[in-house]
């Protein structure tokens, strides 16, 4: 059943891409929505996670699951270090979003430079050994178990993230700090702790996105910028700071990509979701899920 095959593969692709987009955009939006940092380096962080996974799984020969946990775990101390060295210096700067943007461009530049003279020299394409062997059929559509596992993990992560922000008071505290920092601290919110936590959490989610992406797809160094841009686009449409928006729009992007590229062409798909973005903004400049 060829049409059924195309249909199911479209749905699967939409979901898979949507989950990756959502994760990265959620990480970006958490960081923007708390410390006001538009992290242009998010794509580089994403790539860093994917490359680190490659090193751990391919060069060191660790089991892929161990390597994945290691990489995601390592994002925590790395983020803390970065927070300590650079990020916290700007917490009290007026208009710090601009300072942060410059900062993140600097970081982007450094990471891109490092990748280019290391990984860029080692290979032009990176592929991680499968998480697990075998293939599962979704109707007529075969999916490698490895990708399926990445998808399930991604969905679980998003659900956990959603629950954390929705049902834990930390979620409300992030928003409170974003909207009125002094008032939040008077109400008992430890502003700096929230900042730190958000930065770490956001990066962790981005790193998880990178790791899952690497399991699902082969990649090269060029994914970083396109991911940065896509994540920004999703954040703007979804309403900056809104994780629900990031997930909803991330899914829409994923499905648009899949559907339009199936029924028109991949190029039209890229134009179409970016064009849709402009249209939505024309109608609702604050984003769909602005808070």
């Amino acid at each position: 059943m060829p049409t059924e095959l195309v249909l199911i593969s479209t749905l699967f692709t939409g979901l898979m891409l949507g989950v990756i987009f959502s994760l990265v955009a959620a990480g970006v939006t958490i960081i923007y929505g708390s410390i006001w940092m538009p992290n242009a380096a998010n794509g580089q962080f994403f790539l860093l996670a994917a490359l680190a996974l490659w090193s751990a799984a391919v060069s060191w020969g660790l089991h892929p699951v161990v390597a994945a946990l290691l990489v995601i775990g390592a994002s925590v101390p790395a983020s803390l270090l970065l927070e300590q060295m650079l990020i916290r210096r700007f917490y009290d700067v007026p208009n710090r979003n601009v300072s942060y943007f410059v900062l993140s461009l600097g970081i982007t530049q450094i990471l891109a430079g490092l990748f280019s003279v290391t990984y860029g020299v080692w290979s032009d394409q990176f592929q991680i050994p499968p998480l697990m062997a075998g293939i599962t059929f979704l109707g007529p559509f075969p999916v490698s178990n490895s990708r399926l596992a990445a998808l399930v993990t991604g969905v679980a992560l998003l659900a956990a993230l959603f629950a954390l922000l929705r049902y834990h008071k930390y979620g409300r505290a992030i928003r409170a700090v974003f909207q009125n920092r002094d008032a939040a601290s008077l109400r008992g919110v430890n502003v700096r702790a929230i900042y730190r936590l958000s930065f770490v959490l956001g990066n962790l989610v981005v790193a998880a996105g990178g790791v899952l992406y690497a399991f699902a797809y082969s990649f090269d160094l060029s994914v970083s910028w396109s991911m940065s841009i896509t994540a920004f686009a999703i954040m703007i449409i979804g309403g900056p700071g809104s994780v629900v928006g990031a997930v909803a729009v991330g899914m829409v992007f994923g499905f648009t990509q899949a559907i339009v590229s199936a029924f028109a062409s991949p190029t039209v798909a890229t134009f179409s979701y970016l064009g849709a973005m402009l249209l939505i903004l024309l109608m609702k400049p604050s984003g769909l899920f602005a808070r």
Binding site: A173, R175, Q179, D182, S185, L186, G188, V189
Partner: protein, 231 residues
């Protein structure tokens, strides 16, 4: 309950508060009045830990607040309603109230919320409205309510009457008196001398960063000069 001694606040070279002494006993309503720029808000900010005083000591229930960060003060029982409302504009009224009880995990938030809804029924009616789209006065009510959600030992209100209709100001006055009856200490920072005089046990009059006068409400209102200057 609260003891401020020798409090000095500087903004760069500018001396906003110079060696201020205020003592507030448990269960009192104490007023602090004074013209614009007297240093009232600066004092409140220092109480809240939002600015660091250049000198002086603030003791709350006998404990020096010097090393206590802003966010821990509310758990000590000190709830501050800042000037300029201090609400979360893009959260709903209800979420704002929940933020008011943020530091109190075990508390019965629904019950607390019912109590503030009794005080300001319009808030119950508008519980889903984004706080920032409420009218100026409604926002002020919300701000006071957030302060009350902490059910504190002591509440500090910085110009709660700003922008409120006369009848609401009256309501707030009554509410403050009820709070005192419930054992809450109230520090009322105001420019509205009438409200302050109506409810306060004692009043500090502040100008140019220092206390000019200090006495019971009657003493202050009896002082003709002062009345002239304030009312």
């Amino acid at each position: 309950m609260l003891e401020i001694s020798g409090l000095t606040i500087r903004y760069g070279a500018f001396l906003a508060v110079g060696s201020l002494d205020i003592v507030i006993g448990k269960g009192d309503i104490v007023g602090l009045i004074g013209p614009n720029g007297a240093g009232k808000t600066s004092t409140v900010k220092a109480l809240g830990g939002l600015i660091k005083p250049a000198a002086g000591r603030i003791a709350f229930r006998g404990r020096d607040l010097a090393g206590v960060p802003a966010h821990e003060r509310i758990t000590l029982g000190l709830s501050i309603v800042p000037e300029g409302r201090g609400i979360f504009a893009r959260m709903s009224v209800e979420e704002n109230l929940l933020m008011g009880a943020y530091a109190f995990d075990g508390a019965d938030k629904a019950a607390r919320m019912r109590r503030v809804y009794d005080l300001f029924p319009i808030l119950a009616e508008r519980r889903w409205q984004a706080a920032g789209t409420m009218s100026g006065g409604q926002q002020q009510m919300l701000a006071v309510s957030m302060g009350l959600m902490a059910e504190p030992e002591m509440i500090v209100l910085d110009e709660p009457s700003l922008g409120l209709a006369p009848i609401v100001i009256e309501e707030i006055g009554k509410a403050l008196i009820r709070l005192r009856e419930a054992g809450v200490t109230v520090f009322l920072v105001e420019q509205n001398a009438t409200l302050t005089a109506d409810v306060s046990d004692r009043i500090y009059v502040m100008s140019n960063g220092t206390v000019l006068h200090h006495g019971t409400a009657e003493e202050i209102t009896r002082n003709e000069d002062m009345l002239g200057a304030l009312l």
